[in-house]
Amino acid sequence: MLDFDAGKYAPYVWTAYGLTAAVFVLMVADTLARARRWRRKVRDRETDKTP
């Protein structure tokens, strides 16, 4: 059975998990945003929307 109790160590454990989740979200968001931005620029430039 899942046990999320961390006793008196909860501040250390949950801060570590929270930071890990935040860094993963940041890495995923930044990676997808960059790829989408350059893909869109290629499409725009191929169709001459942007000089």
């Binding site: 059975m1 899942l2 046990d3 999320f4 109790d5 961390a6 006793g7 160590y9 909860a10 250390y12 454990v13 801060t15 570590a16 998990y17 930071l19 890990t20 860094v23 993963f24 940041l26 890495m27 995923v28 930044d30 990676t31 997808l32 960059r34 790829a35 931005r37 350059w38 893909r39 620029k41 290629v42 430039r45 191929e46 001459d48 942007t50 000089p51």
Partner: protein, 238 residues
């Protein structure tokens, strides 16, 4: 395999299906690993802080693995002047910095309740901090040089110099007397960790690896598009 993927068109075809596949594997392994993590009993010595191990150790392993990828791609880019290798190196650096940051911060959060201190200048912690500084130096150097080819060459040399630090990080707990514990997984005679901790640790490590695979491929795709967009802009201007 690597030679076949050196062709950008072939790489784009491969990464189009491989990146989401790695992403799905990462999410599935992450879910299983976290489930095993939170059904594991508290350790007799470390109590509930053992949960931090499951996210700290994979981040630390990834910090070394990603730097290995960065150095390998830099070497290929420097020697064979291959633009996709430069793109792969450029794409790996921010991810490696992210994993190394996590290794340092989660290690510090684990160190305080178990060692009684957030930080100590022992060989392992200091060499990982140096690794993080190499990542930051790589990113700063890349941003500082406008000429893309010059930047790629300078960054590749920096990455190869930094590779000297990898065996120092790995063997620091053997070569010096450190507060940081020695290896308990990859050691002669096999792991000393009981399966109830070893299984979630290895599964979460594979999840981190798959997540890196997915993100790296997408970032390299972004680099290929960036180069293509810049080439199109130059053509339009000329």
């Amino acid at each position: 395999m690597i030679a076949a993927l050196a062709n950008p068109e072939r790489f784009m075809r491969f990464s189009r299906w491989a990146a989401p596949l790695f992403g799905v594997i990462a999410v599935a392994l992450g879910a299983v690993g976290l489930w095993l993590d939170f059904i594991a009993p508290p350790d007799y010595q470390q109590h509930y802080t053992v949960h931090i191990m499951f996210i700290h150790v994979p981040a630390a392993w990834m910090s070394l693995f990603v730097y290995g990828c960065l150095a390998g791609a830099s070497f290929i880019g420097l020697v064979f002047r291959h633009s996709l290798a430069d793109a792969a190196a450029r794409a790996a650096a921010p991810l490696g910095a992210g994993f190394t940051f996590l290794a340092l911060v989660t290690g510090s959060l684990w160190g305080k309740p178990t060692w009684g201190t957030w930080w100590v200048w022992d060989a392992r912690l200091t060499s990982v901090l140096v690794l993080f500084l190499f990542y930051l130096g790589y990113l700063a150097l890349q941003a500082a040089i406008d000429d893309e080819q010059r930047a790629a060459r300078a960054c590749a040399i920096l990455a190869l110099v930094g590779a000297i630090n990898l065996p120092i990080v790995h063997f620091s707990v053997t070569w010096w007397n450190t507060l940081h514990q020695g290896s308990s997984v990859f050691r002669k005679g096999g792991p000393t960790m009981p399966p109830v901790y070893l299984e979630p640790l290895l599964i979460l490590s594979l999840a981190y690896m798959a997540a890196f695979g997915a993100l790296w491929l997408v970032r390299i795709r972004g680099e290929v598009w960036r180069k293509r967009a810049n080439a199109l802009a130059l053509r339009a201007a000329g």
